[in-house]
């Protein structure tokens, strides 16, 4: 019975812990990031923005700095990763495990990627392979080779694990978007976000502005959808678990029925029997919930959320290559006690009541 409850509760607690951990880390990332992200409107969606727009943006009152970024997804040795191109001086804040800041033609990669692809300093990797033309059955290929100058610490967050960073000029060369940035990250003085937004909109009416608040909303929405999907799946699992619990808790089991018959035959009242069953269920719930909590804690912290984490963090495999963020809060713990109680009650109270309300001779037969 306890094992059955743990099997139901453990994924629930683990998933909620990971979801809360990822959410928390996302919030921190957004909080530490830029105040406004500027792109160009391209038929109602985000389009690239000319890098020359950085200068007028910098001059807006309240702006601390404006950082052009080139961001895109690329494959490196078959592994999907994120390429981030930013000005060289912005890379100085990255904490390196090995190597140094990259120069032109060099890149730095996250530890997760280095471990996964067995890469080291001075290794070369090919990025942005493209067939330009096929003439007389001969493909003309563009290949760009980059030397790994440094490996940075991916402990800092789940987003950094599979990240490749290089200068924005090199990134633009890979994406073939010379002179443009994917967006411009604008950092402003406290209290200036609204006035800077207005000024930016005045500079160019085709600017699309995403404020920190908006980015947070997108994050929350994304996690809520994931959380909702999980809740729906869990409800289904929960519903399927009830018959399993019914069987394991003694629905129709002659042994349990016989025990209740013995108790009734020796003078127990029906309410005495039900009180005992209730107490047993509470004990089961009080054992199962903390046990599930401990197993979840060990699973997520020691085994790094093996298998479970992939459902909540996009683009990772069953064995995550970075420490999976997690946050064990009291609410899931209390909920797991509640779920245990509900499951055991549904599974046993009715069958116990039925056994206790027939004549003992019938229950013992």
């Amino acid at each position: 019975m306890i094992l059955c409850l743990v099997a139901i509760l453990f994924p629930f607690i683990s998933a909620i812990a990971i979801l809360d951990g990822v959410k928390s880390q996302s919030r921190i990332s957004v909080d530490e990031g830029a105040n406004i992200y500027v792109t160009m409107d391209m038929y109602g969606r985000n389009g690239v923005i000319p890098i020359e727009m950085v200068e007028p943006i910098k001059k807006v009152d309240g702006v601390i700095k404006a950082v052009p970024r080139a961001i895109g997804r690329i494959y490196i040795s078959g592994k999907l990763s994120v390429l981030l191109g930013i000005p060289m001086d912005e890379l100085s804040s990255v904490s390196f495990i090995k190597g140094t800041l990259p120069k032109s033609g060099e890149i730095v990669i996250g530890k997760g990627m280095a471990d996964a692809l067995n890469l080291n300093i001075n290794d070369s990797i090919t990025i942005g392979v493209r067939i330009m033309a096929i003439i007389d059955d001969t493909p003309y290929i563009i290949k760009r080779e980059y030397r790994i100058a440094g490996i940075f610490d991916s402990q800092s967050g789940i987003w950094a694990s599979d990240l490749v960073m290089m200068s924005i000029d090199d990134a633009n060369s890979v994406f073939e978007t010379e002179g443009f940035a994917t967006d411009i990250a604008v950092y402003v003085k406290p209290g200036y976000e609204a006035s800077v937004s207005k000024s930016l909109q005045r500079i160019n009416t085709f600017f699309r502005l995403q404020t920190k608040g908006l980015v947070k909303t997108y994050f929350e929405r994304g996690f809520n959808i994931k959380g909702g999907i999980f809740a729906a799946l869990y409800t289904l699992a929960f519903a399927l678990a009830i018959p399993a619990i019914l069987v394991s808790s003694g629905f129709g089991m002659s042994e349990r029925r016989k025990e209740i018959g013995i108790l009734k035959a020796t003078g127990w009242q029906t309410h005495d029997v039900l009180e005992t069953v209730l107490f047993e269920n509470m004990v089961l719930a009080m054992i199962s919930a903390p046990l599930s909590f401990i197993i979840s804690f060990v699973w997520v912290r020691l085994f790094n959320g093996f298998f479970i984490a992939q459902f909540f963090i996009a683009g990772i495999e069953s064995i995550p290559s970075f420490p999976v963020p997690s946050k064990f809060m009291p609410l899931p713990f209390l909920l797991s006690i509640f779920f245990s109680l509900v499951l055991t009650m549904v599974g046993s109270i009715y069958s116990a009541w039925r056994a206790a309300t027939v004549p003992p001779a019938e229950a013992l037969r």
């Binding site: 013995i262 009734k264 035959a265 127990w268 005495d272 013992l364």
Partner: protein, 223 residues
């Protein structure tokens, strides 16, 4: 007025169905207080059914049963449980002990709903186990005991609430000869204490000790 009285008692299983079974048919009898009564008869004659109804663990289909003038027929589940708790002690043919629990806990089980503290329950249970010759085995669970020992634990449990009616169902069917002798001694003591003993049995050794023998055949009282 008789201490226990049965008036035209019928017990029918699956009544009005093609596979209806008449376990008891029109049984009427009177049992006096402090008597040792044995119901005998072949297997399936209705002995167990009759003592189960008198012992308040089953209900008759028709007829009336009185204990000390109280009609059991229309008693609620609560009232019947209360009667079982205060007045009857039942020793089942297969003992019906709870596996995995030590002997003393099995014996003291009826005392739990009375709110008696564990220490007192244990003390009472060990005292009764001593009386049936099992004081050394109070921590042993039923699965570690012989049939005769389990039966003595069941007897101690039947006595724990100090009932005035002790009911035993085929008590010699699962025990050896030595245990039968010990059982007769225990029952003699109980009779001396003024307990009314009802038993379903066809064991000659038991029949010799009975005050009254009722014979049942195919659910009818024939003697």
């Amino acid at each position: 007025m008789s201490f226990i009285r049965c008036e035209c008692v019928w017990k029918i299983y699956n009544e009005a169905k093609p596979y209806e079974v008449r376990a008891l048919e029109d049984v009427s009898l009177n049992i006096e207080k402090d008597s040792f009564v044995i119901f005998t008869g072949p297997s399936g004659s209705g002995k167990t059914t009759l003592i189960s109804i008198i012992g308040c663990i089953d209900r008759q289909t028709r007829g009336r049963v009185y204990i000390d003038g109280k009609d059991l027929t229309d008693l609620s589940d609560i009232a019947l449980s209360s009667l079982r708790q205060k007045r009857t002690g039942f020793v089942f043919q297969n003992f019906n002990l709870i596996q995995g629990l030590p002997a003393w806990e099995n014996v003291s089980m009826p005392l739990i709903p009375m709110g008696i503290k564990e220490n007192n329950r244990k003390h009472t249970a060990i005292h009764l186990l001593k009386r049936v010759g099992l004081s050394e085995r109070h921590e042993h669970s039923p699965e570690e005991m012989s049939g005769g020992e389990q039966q003595r634990v069941a007897i101690a449990r039947a006595l724990v609430n100090n009932p005035d009616i002790i009911i035993l169902d085929e008590p010699t069917s699962n025990i050896d000869v030595d245990a039968v002798g010990l059982l007769i001694d225990i029952l003699s003591d109980l009779k001396r204490e003024g307990k009314t003993i009802l038993m379903a049995s066809h064991d000659e050794n038991m029949l010799k000790n009975a005050d009254i023998i009722h014979e049942l055949k195919r659910g009818r009282l024939v003697k």
